[in-house]
């Protein structure tokens, strides 16, 4: 028979709810790479026409859109994950006593305005179903997943802010955390917003994705129970907690909040096969309750073709946006690795021309494969744009680029980190040589470079030696694979480079 959820104020869920959902205004929370909140806000303004609030909890922005704009929201390129906000508390007063504080959280559940956010969630589900089919097809692509020697960031370094304690947990009603994130961090804590990054998450994402594809038939979210039936939803609670004044851990909060959610909705708790992921984000006195609209494993563009050390496409997008590409600009990534940056560039700035290069044959091969799949993706869209992705790859040496002097408008790249290149000592010589060569190929005056590096000391020193060619315009502090890195926007001075080998 019918099992209707009778939770107070909660409408029945199903296709009708999705219809209603489309008319609502939704407050959306988005996680973005730390440091690029402003960039993401600009993209939201540009593509959705909405202003964003940037949260003090780093790596998150909030904006309001009509729920029917969800497809556009999912196409934002600077966003890693999305959720719909149930309620935000700017200054939540936690009781000092642990039991009291947790009881307050439990009591909160029945007071929250779940109805509309759940309709938005329902609407989002109907979008996801179409996406899941395409994703499964991509997953079957036999791209290999081994690490590249010149890939991106490496994780594992301890970067926990000593002032804050951060931890994250899912409500432990079911057996294990699904993505194994806790297991991978040696300290047993991990955070799921933009703060801690990619190396660990990527591996778990790959696993989770493989899981999703093989379980797709049985996944809870996929099927409806049938016409006229309302099936019991499965849920889990994920709690991210940061701050040193809380009397409880995220584990405890997730557990108790989850218990109250279960009580209130009569949903079933399930860590791995859940329909609804409730988010409880606590950052000092800021509390945000939300419902996830993306699954971390599915939201990573191009992940099947890239190794686990590849630069996140959202970070690549942010870097490209920083250099403000104009139509007809020539954009070069001279150390492209698997090609994350040029591929993002060609997809989002098709009126520019993108050239990727690397000295490693494996990188070049991998980048070429990724471009092929981008071409295949293009073919499925309207045929008039299918011909000729404005992107090329070359095998070359960064210190001796086979490019004409002053022929390039923008250089954007992920500079090798100390570990990858062999030693930090080698960076001392490599960085100045790179900057000189990048300066040579770049158009005087109007040219610019956006460079990501973890070796900030070395970079600053190298930059001081090429002040006649490059001026530092902006620095964005980011977090890459758990390491503190920086993205530098440089402007090319008007001074012409020495004409060594070409004339125009």
């Amino acid at each position: 028979g019918m099992a209707e959820t009778e939770a107070a104020g909660d409408a029945g869920l199903g296709p009708a709810a999705a219809q209603e959902g489309a008319e609502l205004a939704a407050v959306i929370g988005a996680t973005v790479p730390t440091g690029f909140e402003q960039t993401a806000a600009e993209e939201v303004q540009e593509k959705l026409g909405s202003a964003s609030r940037i949260s003090r909890d780093r790596g998150k922005i909030y904006f309001e859109v009509p729920a029917r704009s969800l497809p556009e929201v999912h196409r934002l390129r600077s966003v890693d994950n999305l959720f719909v906000v149930v309620q935000e508390f700017k200054d939540y007063q936690f009781k000092e006593n642990k039991e009291d504080a947790l009881k307050d959280l439990e009591d909160l559940v029945k007071k929250l305005p779940w109805t509309n956010p759940l309709k938005v969630w329902e609407l989002n589900n109907s979008l996801k179903k179409k996406k899941t089919k395409r994703k499964k097809h991509n997953l079957q692509n036999p791209a290999s997943r081994e690490k590249l020697s010149d890939g991106g960031e490496e994780g594992g370094a301890d970067q926990n802010n000593t002032n804050d304690q951060e931890d994250c947990a899912q409500n432990p009603v079911a057996v294990e955390p699904t993505s194994g994130q806790d297991a991978e961090n040696p300290q047993g804590v991990t955070s799921r917003n933009g703060v801690e990054e990619e190396e660990d998450n990527d591996q778990s994402d790959v696993k989770a994705e493989a899981q999703a594809s093989s379980e797709s038939g049985t996944k809870a979210g996929d099927g409806q129970a049938g016409e006229g039936e309302v099936k019991v939803l499965r849920f889990r609670v994920t709690c991210n907690r940061a701050g040193d004044k809380h009397s409880f851990t995220s584990n405890e909060a997730a557990r108790d909040f989850g218990g109250a959610v279960q009580e209130h909705f009569q949903w079933k708790a399930d860590m791995t096969n859940f329909d609804v992921e409730v988010l409880l984000n606590i950052h000092n006195n800021e509390v945000v309750v939300g419902i996830a609209l993306t699954e971390e494993s599915l939201h990573r563009r191009n992940i099947t073709h890239f190794g686990p050390t590849t630069l996140r496409s959202t970070l690549a997008y942010g870097m490209l946006r920083l250099c403000d590409p104009q139509p007809t600009d020539i954009i070069v990534d001279p150390m492209c690795g698997t090609g994350a940056i040029p591929i993002e560039g060609a997809a989002e700035w098709p009126h520019c021309y993108h050239i990727a290069g690397d000295n490693s044959p494996q990188a070049v091969k991998r980048a070429a494969n990724n471009i092929c799949s981008l071409l295949r993706k293009n073919e499925s869209k309207d045929s008039s744009t299918a011909l000729g992705v404005p992107l090329d790859i070359i095998q070359w040496d960064i210190c001796n680029l086979p490019l004409r002097t002053g022929s390039v408008d923008i250089v954007v790249t992920d500079m090798p980190f100390g570990k990858r290149i062999g030693s930090k000592k080698k960076n001392w010589d490599l960085y100045p040589a790179c900057l000189m060569e990048m300066g040579r190929i770049c158009t005087p005056g109007t040219g610019r470079a956006v460079l990501l590096t973890q070796d900030k000391k070395c970079f600053a020193k190298a930059l001081s030696r090429v002040g006649h060619i490059w001026r530092r315009a902006q620095t964005v502090w980011v977090n890459v694979g758990g390491l503190h890195a920086a993205v530098y926007l440089l402007r090319r001075t008007w001074e012409r480079a020495e004409e060594r080998r070409s004339f125009w």
Binding site: Y353, G388, Q395, N400, P402, R404, R501, S502, F503
Partner: protein
């Protein structure tokens, strides 16, 4: 490799005179048709521009080589990717 890319490439074999590395000569496995000299007032000729666009951005050299005009050094193009790494012999 697209022709637009070729426009930006220059040989960097050591010891060339300035400008001696440009343009690289494209050698293909088979003959191909490239457009003739630009006609006068080509900017206004939409048909011509279309053909130039096509040749610059939509035609790929998959297999062949690029030859440095001054030194004669050849750089291979394989599966659409030119390899412009110098070897120890070049130095």
């Amino acid at each position: 490799m697209k022709l637009l890319t070729h426009n930006l490439l220059s040989s960097h074999v050591p010891g060339l005179r300035p400008g001696g590395g440009f343009p690289l000569r494209i050698e293909l496995g088979h003959p191909s048709e490239l457009p003739p000299e630009p006609i006068p007032n080509f900017e206004a000729d939409e048909e011509f521009l279309r053909r130039v666009h096509h040749v610059l951005l939509e035609v790929e050299v998959l297999e062949g080589s690029l030859q440095c005009p001054d030194s004669g050094r050849r750089f291979p193009i394989s599966k659409g990717v030119p390899n412009l790494l110098l070897t120890e012999d070049d130095a």
